[in-house]
């Protein structure tokens, strides 16, 4: 019996050593194509043919490593800075950018593809992190509710503290949720550091509901989604209404929900890519970044991840242009200020809203 156990164990160990991965730093042989490893967050998606075309064009193999949510993936990249897990890291956003730059995980790369990209997206003058896409965290509302009640939907942040919108809003905890943090930043960008806490106390008086994660807010509490909750206003993305059309059993003519896109009601999340310091495949990493900024990839991205391209030449699918309204002016807070004040803001917000 015990001998059998020993046998199983040694087989197991053999299996382990047999499966040990050589990792991104392995030396290439003639027979196998070189491998480029791209580290990214859970929500990354891409069309298969787009990647296959890139692979055959450059005679390489692209390996993706999904490393948890954005914050977790970034922590992994920081802790493995001496021996990087991958060649490229995509998916860091402006709320985490300063942490990445301060820790020095990226190498600069002034991609020629940056030329066509508007300056508003270029957050790092040294080009250690290059913009790829953006999405806006906006209030979403259940159109049916407001039609039925004959009230007009909210148009500004100020509207939310009015009596007719009492007990209608559900938001996420900024300490645990990325859209939750983005919405807190929208209120800070709009009301300023001196005014946002007063606004939140008024929201509390108007019975705002706070849950910890996007899923609970959108799928359980929000009345306009599959969960049919009791609150008709929720914090989500400006692209969320498009999902409600595409991912419906019988696609409706118009989405059942819409985003509030008034000036300074939304916060823009810009996602960036960078070459990880210490990569052995710098040439491939550069090719990959150029590719991510090219129209091929930029046009594929919206339908895969429901984010918008930073490359102005990339055309958008009809479902976006027809069904979505996008904000013209978002509330702005700089990445440096976010890094500097994040802890204080979260503490003050928690004191004001949860105590």
């Amino acid at each position: 019996m015990l001998r059998k156990v020993g046998l199983i164990l040694s087989l197991g160990m053999l299996g382990i050593s047999g499966c040990v991965q050589s990792g991104p730093t392995s030396t290439p042989t003639v027979l196998e194509p070189r491998v480029l490893t791209v580290m990214t967050h859970d929500s990354f998606a891409v069309s298969e043919d787009v990647i296959r075309a890139f692979e055959s064009e450059n005679q390489i193999k692209v390996r993706f490593l999904k490393a948890g949510d954005t914050g977790t993936a970034l922590n992994k990249a920081i802790l493995s800075v001496d021996n990087p897990l991958a060649d490229v890291f995509y998916g860091i956003d402006n709320t985490f950018l300063s942490r990445a730059l301060d820790e020095g995980i990226f190498e600069s790369y002034a991609s020629p593809a940056l030329a066509g990209i508007p300056d508003e997206f270029k957050l790092d003058p040294q080009n250690r992190a290059l913009p790829v896409d953006y999405g806006d965290v906006c209030l979403n509302f259940d159109k049916g509710y407001f039609e039925e009640k004959g009230i007009s939907p909210p148009q500004s942040l100020e509207d939310l503290v009015k009596p007719e919108y009492k007990s209608l809003l559900v938001v996420q905890n900024p300490a645990t949720s990325s859209p939750g943090l983005a919405f807190l930043l929208a209120t800070i960008g709009h009301f300023g550091e001196d005014g946002y806490l007063d606004y939140w106390s008024e929201l509390v008086d108007n019975d705002v509901k706070v849950v910890n994660d996007w899923d609970s807010a959108y799928n359980s509490e929000f009345s306009g989604s599959a969960g049919r909750g009791s609150r008709p206003i929720v914090v989500s993305y400006d692209s969320s209404p498009a999902f409600e059309v595409i991912y419906a059993e019988t696609p409706p003519e118009t989405p059942p929900t819409a985003a509030v896109v008034g000036d300074e009601t939304c916060f823009r999340q810009i996602e960036l890519v960078g070459i990880l310091k210490g990569t052995k495949n710098r040439d491939l990493a550069e090719k990959w970044i150029d590719f991510m900024l090219s129209t091929t990839f930029q046009e594929d991205m919206p339908m895969q991840m429901f984010v918008f391209p930073v490359n102005p030449n990339a055309g958008l699918d009809e479902v976006f242009t027809k069904h979505l309204s996008l904000p013209e002016k978002t509330a702005v807070v700089s990445p440096e200020l976010i890094a500097q004040k994040r802890e204080q803001w979260l503490k003050d917000w928690t004191e004001t809203v949860l105590r």
Partner: protein, 570 residues
Amino acid sequence: MKQSRHIFRTTALWIVPLAFLVLFYFYPMLRILSISLGRGEGGLIAPFAEALTSPAQRGIIWFTIWQAVLSTLLTLLFGLPGAYLLARYQFRGNGVVMALTGIPFVMPTLVVAAAFNALIGPRGWVNLALMEWLDLSQPPVEFINSLSAILLAHIFYNTTIVLRMVGDFWSHIDPRLSQASRVLGANNWQTLRQITLPLLMPAIASAALLIFIFDFTSFGVILVLGGPRFVTLEVEIYNQTISLFNLPLAASLSIIQLACTLAFTVFYTRLSIRLSRPLSLRPQRYTQKRLTSWRSRIMAGVILTLLVGLETVPLVALAARSFTTQDQGRSQASLSTQRLTLANYQELTINRRNSLFYVPPTQAIINSLAYASATVVLALSLGLPVAWTLARDRDSVLSRVMDPILMLPLGTSAVTLGLGFIVALNHPPVDLRASPVLVPLAHTLVAFPFVVRSLVPAIRSIRPRLRQAAAVLGAAESQVLLQVDLPLVGRAMLVAAVFAFTISLGEFGATALIARPDRPTIPIMIYRFISQPGALNYGQALALSTILMVTTSAGMLAIERFRIAEVGEF
């Protein structure tokens, strides 16, 4: 001479499991904790001082402890009558009840939250019915984001531990002991208190310890069902690590959480040594009776209704919703607008967006089952020798030191250990940071304490005289092992295997950090769908949850059939 051989054998049994723990647990943990604490500017003491003196952090530690104590007591209270029924009575559907009540153990928290929401959420059936009946405009039952949601969810998740660990032990205790007590004039209550409970104590204590550590390190339940007002150590460690990047404070909180786990386990170990005594275990067919009297039938009815009610009604509601769809454009939910559909299941098999990461549901089932089988083999082969020496040489120094330490992986913050893998297993020959092998290894770390705790009470209860008798009759040591010991612990090994299997099937936190995108498990796929807007995405998450339930119960029933040997007649 004999003594030295004995020590040699003990060491040999320990060496592989110890090597496993050192390489995949202690080394990664030490690395990440020292790196994290090294990043602090105020030295080693400052983060501990902050964790122990700031009112906010102290409040978190205190809440973590008392909610876990309360949850554990309630789970025992709820589970023990069921364990009694399943242990002492023979009735049709016994195995099915056992399998059904095991399903909650593997369900991802987000899905359980959806299930509770469908029942008692603001627009759940209970509230809708009450609003209509009492003519109210607001839902009367506030359940989600309350302490009762946390407690109920902990009971929901962990009752199966009581049923399996206590129930199984109970079903092999000789009923003649309590019959004798009654013949001698004791009433039922006295018999329970003075005979049955003391005999059961080792199993109850084992179950209580595991439940307690699970509740103590609760993450998803607190986050999703408890809401922003409740924070446990595990949640705070995640926030400090990911959101605030305060690694020194996160590390000190991790160490405090481990110290608490260790303290509770040492307390348990002391207690369990006093509690356990050799018993003559009997096969089930000698201990179980049929439900003949009216009284026993009514009792069985009440217990089963409560048990199956709490453990399966939310899941049935979930499965039902995966087969229904709601017509668009109505903001009020009601039963009349729902109709039956298979669309959610059909959609699972279509790669509509031509995504690189699309995985058909059958492949996810195969991935999950492959990881789970590897975990069962690994956890049993590591756990059996350890349980053996713990039970046999419990007075040796090695056993006394190792017993509590073995429980540590269960009390470890998933995010800390996940980052530990990144900083420790990063050099050849063990650069496993992106290897699929890491998944069953991580699952084994969680399953290992379950395997040990399921086996130790059974092994300890084997009467030494049985083994001596076999030896006197000329059996070699290996024969004693194969023909006396193995049949006696065979059942406990099945219990251990079921735990390892279900832990692996349901595990989400560690898997999400290490699974490769092209080899997702079912819980990972559920998470992918539920974190996107759109009714069909939500529906697909529910459909996959139903598939997970079916896979789990099929797997559990299959393991139950695969009996190594029934407790024999002695």
